[in-house]
């Protein structure tokens, strides 16, 4: 009864059609696909239960607030796909915004494939997940490219500018200098690579024992050559230290040597110098700089980007 009410309240006529397709899929084709595919790739193995259908009007924030587990939130959002792709996408975005969502694999599953390719904000959503995973851009771009998602590295764009012109670039970078032409600022970006450094850290209680002793004395006597006295002292110091250490690894970012100019649509005080950002941008090609090479040379070239969005990377990296 509740289900009937919900279907009747759906706005476009196509929702009836989707409901029917869903019904057909449940009776006919779903079982044969499930055998050969990862169950995660399907919108829903059993279809949405009555209580899991998106209420009308659907509030994504309220939906995401129900789940403290990001994976569960994404799984429930996926259940909306057969009913309303808009609601499902809104729910997924709310999951990523409202929970510490880091599962790039779940986002890249076949269930979300159509949405990722056609939705306007999909690239920014992916960039946000990469940032929430710690901003290991190089590693995550490899995962994205394995799924044929067209987001590329700055290194690739610099190497083959014509191939990557106009395409999405994901870069971890710090802001250097900034200049403005009217209301449109352009920032100088310094690309950062993510690495780790090992260090030993003490665990538990450390015991240290210091001891020192001094022995001194004089010896006097008489020989056939004459009489005399010999004096001396002996000092001894010992230090004994016992502690237990473990090897720890800390993430550090360092300059890769690549730089870029990043165009902003308007001044943004939050894109501040001195900290790393995961930046999604369009690659606009290369420009020749006034740099320090000879006047006769072609001159050093710098990539120019149009910044779409940026995110602060989480300090912990997910691999």
């Amino acid at each position: 009864m509740k289900r009937a009410t919900l279907v009747a309240s759906l706005k476009p006529a196509s929702r009836h059609a989707w409901a029917l397709i869903c019904a057909l899929a449940m009776t006919g084709c779903a079982t044969s696909r499930a055998v050969e595919e990862d169950p995660r790739d399907k919108p829903s193995s059993s279809g949405p239960r009555v209580t899991e259908l998106p209420p009308d009007p659907f509030n994504p924030q309220t939906f995401a607030a129900q789940y403290s587990n990001p994976s569960e939130c994404e799984r429930q959002a996926r259940r909306f796909l057969p009913i309303s792709r808009d609601d499902a996408w809104a729910a997924l975005k709310a999951c990523i915004d409202g929970t510490p969502f880091t599962s790039l694999q779940a986002l890249m599953s076949r269930a979300w494939s159509n949405e990722l390719r056609s939705r306007a904000g999909a690239a920014a959503l992916i960039a946000k997940v990469v940032a929430q995973r710690g901003g290991s851009v190089e590693g995550d771009l490899r995962l994205l490219n394995e799924q044929r998602l067209p987001i590329f590295s700055l290194a690739a764009a610099v190497a083959q500018p014509d191939t990557y012109k106009g395409r999405f670039i994901l870069v971890r970078a710090q802001v250097g200098d900034s200049r403005a032409e009217g209301e449109k600022p352009t920032v100088w970006l310094v690309e950062q690579g993510l690495g780790s450094v090992a260090s030993e850290q003490q665990v538990g209680v450390a015991v240290r024992r210091d001891s020192a002793s001094t022995t001194s004395g004089n010896l006097g006597g008489e020989t056939t050559l004459g009489s005399g006295t010999v004096g001396g002292s002996l000092s001894q110091a010992d230090t004994d230290r016992k502690s237990r250490t473990v090897l720890r690894y800390d993430n550090i970012s360092s300059d890769t040597g690549r730089e870029a100019l990043g165009r902003l649509a308007k001044p943004d005080p939050f894109l501040a110098p001195g900290r790393d950002f995961v930046i999604l941008a369009r690659f606009d090609g290369m420009r020749t700089t006034s740099g320090s090479l000879d006047a006769d040379d072609e001159g050093p070239r710098i990539p120019v980007l149009s910044i779409v969005s940026y995110f602060i990377p989480h300090p912990l990296v997910v691999y």
């Binding site: 989707w18 397709i21 056609s118 306007a120 067209p150 606009d284 006034s290």
Partner: protein
């Protein structure tokens, strides 16, 4: 039959199924590059400041023609007087340009600007004064002249002006160049030290160049030597 119904439903529902039209920011949209200039374009301002910049302009290339080539050189030479006057102004009295230095700069500038014709294929700057990508060699040449002038104005101008007023030898255009390159003659340096010690405080002493202008009258302080007993 079922397939036909399924497909017709699918196709029929497509326009209103809530799927987003591919916008320019979706992956399905064709690549879009913004070719417009950034805020880092090379202009007369970056020439003045010596700041790093990129060569980008909104221009349409055309067939080579002599008028365009001559116009390019004229455009750059037209900027020379102002730029040289500004470059020669640093550290001079009352913020006025050193006329000798400005005049010397203009001569060198005119010579450097000869490479600025770009063979008449494209205007050297666009409507907003941004240098064309092909203008790098020209930009570097005139930038070199201006930076050299600024250096001379900072290091040598007050000293050379004073030296000329006090009748020291080796003044004029060569004074600026020789002082900046630390190649001034012994007698010139000695005169500057004696008569223009304040104005020439930035000028390295003759002794610093390995040839002493005048023998030092005071003996060099000697390090203490000897032994101490407790």
């Amino acid at each position: 039959m079922l397939t036909v119904v399924f497909l017709s439903l699918l196709l029929g529902s497509a326009p209103n199924d809530g799927s987003p039209a591919s916008s320019s920011s979706s992956f399905e949209a064709p690549p879009v590059a913004d070719e417009s200039p950034t805020a880092w374009s090379c202009t007369a301002d970056t020439l003045r400041s010596g700041k790093e910049c990129v060569f980008e302009a909104e221009l349409t290339p055309s067939a080579a023609n002599k008028d365009q080539a001559a116009s390019n050189v004229r455009t750059i030479q037209g900027m020379g007087r102002t730029l040289c006057a500004e470059a020669a102004r640093a550290r001079s009295e009352n913020g006025k340009a050193d006329r000798n230095l400005a005049s010397s700069c203009e001569k060198k500038y005119v010579s450097a600007a000869e490479v600025c014709d770009l063979e008449g294929t494209v205007p050297i700057v666009d409507a907003k004064g941004r240098f064309a990508p092909a203008a790098r060699a020209c930009y570097r040449a005139i930038s070199g002249v201006l930076q050299e002038t600024q250096l001379m104005a900072t290091v040598a101008a007050p000293c050379c002006q004073c030296a000329a007023q006090r009748g020291c030898p080796g003044v004029g255009d060569r004074c600026y160049a020789e002082l900046t390159q630390q190649q001034a003659g012994v007698s010139t340096l000695a005169c500057m030290r004696d008569r223009c010690s304040d104005a020439c405080s930035l000028v390295p002493s003759a002794a610093g160049q390995g040839k002493s202008a005048t023998p030092s009258l005071k003996p060099e302080p000697r390090p203490n030597r000897g032994s101490a007993s407790l």
